[in-house]
Symmetry: C2
Subunit: 470 residues, 2 copies
């Protein structure tokens, strides 16, 4: 492959005009956890799918690698290419239109560069809900959310990005435009190219627009934090909640004392829900149809759970401000984590019923490696834990750089033993290609390589991401 | 390719024993609509995934075509190979075990040959719901449901087969076993092979087992049939119902007078909901959590809809027997259709808001072709209509065999013009390969061919299905 050099820039300008290229600012080469530093030959900012197709076709002819770029918020380095010939960064940021909203059909069509929060707002303006919700929603873009099959806090009820997408417009590695922006809930005509592109992290093509599912906005929202006896009790509480409240349980987030202690340590302005931080608690959110009282529903859930010995204390929000306050406990834990500085972070999932054993054995495995602090929190209803390992109090993560690999290996080996995933919602990117090799099913890996070679025989699309060897 | 002949039979017996082959009974060569007559060299009935893998590998070595076979209920000929060298029929009927049920995780693992009704029953025994529900559920098998991405009456709330599957075990065309039976709600490690196999109709591999999603069983079920003023009114009623009742609306089926007239004509034992069959009516089903009265909810929906002029009459079931009676109106319409005998049947979808115009223009297009009767009914909430064209009363479908192609073309052209799908839930099979060529997106078709060639370079898996030219 060749670098995106001056000659290639001239080819692009001759074809698409001067305006399409911009100088590469440092932000395109950075990523939130600073584990990777990217490089770039050129930065292109197309305005239309036809321009994207032309860029990909030119790159294909010149054998220049292409890195599709959304909001740059990915946590696994999928958006930064640190090695190889300097790529063309293809940013979708100028393609940010909400092309259409169909309230009757509960469908919204957005371009790939639309910021997630803008899509949420457009849905709300039509009295609908677009439920994808995650920490980076103010800056991540829907194309990246789809390319990485993003998760977040509402997956329990509404599914992940994959489940929220009905159709795509995309440019394939040969420059073909796939016009697949259907508004159909059912379409069984041929292979599922949509889901193949979703989660392929820019290695099989560039998503340029998506047809997205909207939902009725719940008439009443209720939020509570309940203190639970153990992770087992949290799982039983979830089952009880779903028995009582069906699909209206929209979030069910496990919180460990360590997270609350971190908040107290570095973000003391966050109001703690309990005087004494409990070992385990859960944040529950309900979204109920009209005519139902969320507070009453949460109270009756608490009473039923208390009778079973699952919960011992709880705070039920009585106002929107109190709901926000409870949510900020959960939402600011990642910020506290960053301020403390983890030695190693893990985005993992295991079968839900095995979570308690995983937490126990994980704690033992980490303790055997040193006096680390573990903050284990996340989307319990999805079996998805953020299992992050921190230095002892008063120490800096930098002191333990040489332990990171051993910690990561211990956690991932245990996840594998528990039939789990070492990337639940963040993707493989460039961070976990070795894990995919190590833990991935050989038949699946071989099929993935065959698919990559079939759709991108020149290997120009986001080289080194997902599959390191193609 | 070579036929599955006596020499190949000896190879199979030498490797896997005498018991694995059985004589080919006529039922394996038949299909429900009798448009195709299959052929078979051999019939194999493996008991394990290892035997399936061995069979596929032997077929690959001998260049013998393989037709995976489930319940044989498919309506598009995907399970019958009428042309080419006589294939090996690989029936999954001996692999019918429910391998495990995890009520806490809401997961059930079934082998591909498990009959859908048996899976529903196993879920119910664990106080859970497996919501896939369709007319053939007493004989169709889950492997076939997944291979064709089956739909049915509960898609509105729970999604189609694709949405109900968390993981697969499958044999790829080279004989590799993919062990992908995860119990994870979130797993972003690599390309989505699961969804690629789902809906590929046996052309990319053989599904041998699936990890399936279960749901809480709704505490209260409610069923009603409301007479609606028009298809527009039906769509507005659906929106109103979802505003009032959120996701608890689990079915929303449009019924045209023609279907009720057919019932009166050929199935007079079916009790009609109204004295005079209305032009349009809808069957609504609610599944509510504990503490809610379905009858009251349906009544208040009716009152609100009546105030808006959407409905004029209605029947709300007051008992399980009455619920069954209302459902039998909807469920026996396909049987009445078969007894009348359609000239041409179409499983189509269009964007929901365009349904009324589609019905109007479709009626005009058919009327221009002759004095046909149209029975248009189905899953309105999914935009999925079964649009079936019948001979005039007193005439036999056989008289109009020469009109079938023109009718099909007129309907499918209109569907395409309306941005719809010519196969909403039945698949492409061998019946609609020409339609896929005609209406399919060229970039998608070309990607499909590349994927097929990459995963099945010898072209042994279900040749002639989905893609006729590979």
């Amino acid at each position: 492959m060749n670098p995106a050099d001056k000659t290639f820039a001239e080819t692009i300008r001759a074809r698409l005009g001067d305006d399409i290229l911009r100088p590469v600012e440092p932000r395109y080469l950075d990523e939130p956890r600073r584990r990777f530093v990217g490089q770039a030959g050129l930065l292109a900012l197309p305005r239309t799918v036809e321009q994207v197709a032309a860029l990909v076709r030119l790159a294909s002819e010149a054998r220049v690698p292409v890195v599709p770029y959304g909001g740059g918020t990915g946590l696994v380095g999928g958006q930064v290419m640190a090695e190889g010939p300097a790529p063309l960064i293809l940013s979708l940021e100028r393609m940010r239109a909400i092309r259409a909203v169909y309230p009757t059909e509960n469908i919204l069509i957005a371009e790939a560069g639309a910021v997630l929060a803008d899509i949420q707002a457009a849905a709300e303006a039509a009295n609908r809900l677009f439920p994808l919700s995650l920490a980076a929603q103010g800056s991540c873009r829907i194309g990246g959310n789809l390319a990485t099959n993003a998760g977040g806090v509402n997956v329990l009820r509404y599914g992940n990005a994959r489940d929220l997408c009905l159709g795509l417009e995309a440019v394939l590695p040969n420059g073909d435009i796939w016009h697949g922006l259907g508004r159909l809930r059912k379409d069984n005509t041929g292979y599922d190219l949509r889901n193949l592109l979703i989660g392929s992290e820019g290695t099989l093509g560039v998503i340029t627009a998506a047809s997205l599912k909207l939902f009725p906005r719940p008439a009443g929202l209720g939020t509570a934090i309940f203190q639970v006896a153990s992770p087992e009790a949290a799982i039983d509480l979830l089952a009880l909640a779903r028995d009582h409240l069906g699909e209206t349980v929209s979030a069910f987030e496990l919180i460990h004392r360590q997270g609350l202690d971190f908040l107290a340590e570095v973000l003391p302005d966050v109001r703690q829900p309990f005087d004494t931080p409990p070992e385990w608690s859960v944040l529950i959110e309900l979204g109920l149809p009209a005519g139902h009282e969320p507070e009453a529903a949460l109270e009756s859930l608490f009473v039923a759970a208390e009778a079973r010995g699952l919960v011992s204390d709880g705070v039920i929000a009585q106002s929107a401000a109190q709901r926000d306050a409870l949510w900020s406990v959960r939402e600011r834990i990642p910020e506290a984590n960053r301020l403390i500085g983890s030695v190693s972070s893990h985005d993992i999932s295991v079968p839900i019923s095995r979570i308690p054993d995983f937490i126990r054995q994980g704690g033992q495995a980490i303790a055997a490696l040193g006096p680390f602090r573990v903050n284990c929190f996340g989307h319990l209803g999805d079996g998805n834990l953020h299992y992050n390992v921190f230095p002892p109090k008063g120490h800096d993560r930098g002191e333990f750089d040489d332990r990171r690999a051993a910690i990561k290996r211990a956690v991932h080996d245990l996840v594998h033993e528990f039939e789990g995933s070492v990337s639940a919602e963040h993707g493989v990117g460039r961070l976990k290609t070795g894990d995919l090799e190590r833990y991935g099913d050989p038949a699946k890996l071989s099929a993935m390589r065959a698919i990559k070679a079939a759709l991108d025989p020149l290997g120009i699309m986001n080289p080194g991401a997902v599959l390191s060897d193609v």
